[in-house]
Amino acid sequence: MTRNILEVNNLSVEVSGRIVLKDVNLKIPEGEVHVLFGPNGSGKSTLLMTIMGFPAYKILSGEIIFKGRDVTNLPINERANLGINVAFQNPPTIRGVKLREIIEHWTSSMMEVENLLKKVNFSPELLDREINLGFSGGEIKKSEILQIMAQKGDFLMIDESDSGVDVENLKIIGNAINDMLRGRSGLIITHHGHILRFVNAHAAYVILQGTIVCSGSPTKILTQILTEGYGWCYKCPMRRIEKRKMKRNR
């Protein structure tokens, strides 16, 4: 039986005094890629930040199990070094710190760096720039992918890497992500589903107002969202069942 690389059990999270995630449950088996859909502000990025261990995301209840180990209270870097890596949607600009310092921390030779750069068609000059300072939207996305490629983790979380990039860059990013996910597990957040043209995902979830309301085939769910919008999800019978379940649990 395949073991789960990640388990999120009954997770509730508060950010700045507001409850953003409520009783979230998620199981991702080793070697599978799952997708998380949801409208703006539904809690998708919050889930990723909480799995990564960002302190601003305060866990009220629940646990996060990675490779069978409870990582709920581990510092961010220990989670990263265990193999949880994330490509952020809106990474900060870090003045004074060069991208090269991160890439070289994780690579052992210039040839390895060059190969990674080639995969995302990333200009070597950008390595000597301060992280994200003056980067274009596409460069930020590529820089994030480049960093997690260098980190070589077992579980990759990819947040909106397909949004705000042009057709050519989407293809480059999509292929790089697909290549990277081969033999690995991942959780992908996508608004429009463009990335799914390149990546073969095994399951998908819809998150609404901090709660996972349904799961199923990524293609089916995406088609439904693209045709009906998230308005449909609010009316979905699955959501009502989920709500009743939650009430019973309380």
Partner: protein, 403 residues
């Protein structure tokens, strides 16, 4: 009556205690002339920390301990390109040089300039001869060896037309020094088409006072780059160099990296006065305060010509809740069309940045260190490579200490 005796008498009514520094000595031992590399290891080590290295890798070396000039040698390969001597020696040797003394700085500007005028303990006279491009940096060191010493130096630097040079000045003290006062007056003359990069590195101690007073006159098409770096605690440090961009297309850059620690009180500023067409100025300051340090980072851009332009950028990073950084950027336009701007930002290291780097596998300490090191990165200053490497080494040591 000699000029020096006259000066001493004038200062009688101003005892050193009035300067807020009591118990200062004016009678250190005399040091014999020697090559700096033959000095005791402890002196060489401290000098190295402020960028002063073996004289072989410098075009010229001036070394002063307390009130004694130990060395003022120009390497053979650079003889005929430049001159280095004590300012007292230069005053005797060249009668014409008098016009460069107390010309840009008023000797009555404050109590410290008056002190330097009346009790003058040498300093260097550096002259880069016309059209000479000096390929290796020149270096100088002001070393305080005697406890509670008052050292007042007056430097005059002349870059003759078309010349180019880099000067590194390191000012420091013996590690056992408990206190003292250093006053350094520096007057720079950057003549037509000349380019001078001047880097001053200070490493004092927690009960030492330092009051440099500097000014530069920049003529047509000339460039003056002044880098100031402070990495060790100091009791009280105050400096506010002024650059007069008098010539057409004259240019000045002030780059300051200030690391305030302990109970340091640091007041550092730069003033740029743009007086001609095409005059350009830039002030970049990075101030980093930890422990109980207080840093005042000032800057004044004064546009007196309609086709002049200058920018001031100050960034401050607080590493302790008891530290303070106060930035005072000032713009003064006296001519329509003078283009003056400034930006300033002061704050703690953003948690978001630390978390981001931690998500890339760095520990919290490593992430902080990366940010602190990056904050003090001198590569933006465009320094000569060997000097940049030297400063990076010092910054690396400082970042370790800061954390």
């Amino acid at each position: 009556m000699s000029d020096e005796k006259n000066r001493e008498e004038k200062n009688e009514e101003k005892p050193l205690e009035d300067l807020g520094v009591s118990g200062l000595s004016r009678k250190p031992r005399k040091w014999q002339t020697c090559t700096p590399s033959s000095l005791p290891e402890v002196i060489i080590k401290r000098a190295y920390e402020v960028g002063v290295v073996s004289e072989d890798s410098r075009a010229a070396t001036y070394f002063q301990i307390d009130h004694s000039v130990l060395s003022r040698a120009v390497q053979k390969a650079f003889q005929g390109q430049l001159e280095v001597m004590s300012t007292k020696e230069a005053m005797k040797k060249y009668d014409w040089s008098k016009k460069y003394w107390w010309n840009l700085i008023n000797k009555d500007m404050d109590q410290f300039t008056r002190l330097a005028y009346t009790k003058w303990d040498h300093g260097y006279f550096i002259r880069i001869l016309e059209d000479q491009k000096v390929t290796l940096p020149l270096q100088s060191c002001f070393f305080v060896f005697t406890d509670y010493l008052n050292q007042n130096v007056h430097n005059v630097i002349i870059a003759e037309p078309g010349s180019e040079a880099q000067i590194i000045t390191g000012c420091t003290v013996h590690p056992n020094i408990r206190g003292g006062l250093h006053v350094g007056v520096s007057e720079f003359y950057i003549k037509e088409g000349a380019k001078l990069t001047f880097t001053m590195i200070h490493a004092w101690n927690r009960n030492f006072n330092s009051h440099p007073r500097s000014a530069a006159l920049i003529e047509d098409d000339a460039v003056f780059v002044s880098n100031y770096l402070l990495f060790q605690p100091v009791r009280n440090l105050q400096t506010y160099p002024t650059a007069y961009c008098k010539g057409a297309n004259s240019r000045v850059e002030f780059n300051n990296i200030i690391y305030g620690s302990g109970d340091s009180h640091i007041d550092v500023g730069s003033k740029v006065i743009l007086q001609n067409s095409g005059a350009r100025g830039e002030i970049i300051t990075r101030a980093l305060a930890t422990d109980n340090a207080k840093i005042y980072a000032r800057g004044l851009l004064q546009g007196e010509h309609e086709e002049s332009k200058a920018h001031l950028e100050c960034r401050g990073l607080l590493l302790s809740d008891n530290a303070m950084i106060y930035t005072v950027p000032e713009l003064l336009a006296k001519a329509q069309g003078a283009d003056l701007s400034h930006e300033a930002a002061v704050g703690k290291i953003a948690e978001e940045e630390i978390c981001y780097l931690m998500s890339r596998g760095f520990s919290e300490k490593e992430a902080t260190s990366l940010i602190v090191r990056g904050f003090m990165d001198v590569s933006i200053f465009g320094l000569p490579r060997n000097l940049e490497e030297n400063i990076k080494r010092i910054i690396s040591i400082t970042a370790e200490r800061a954390l």
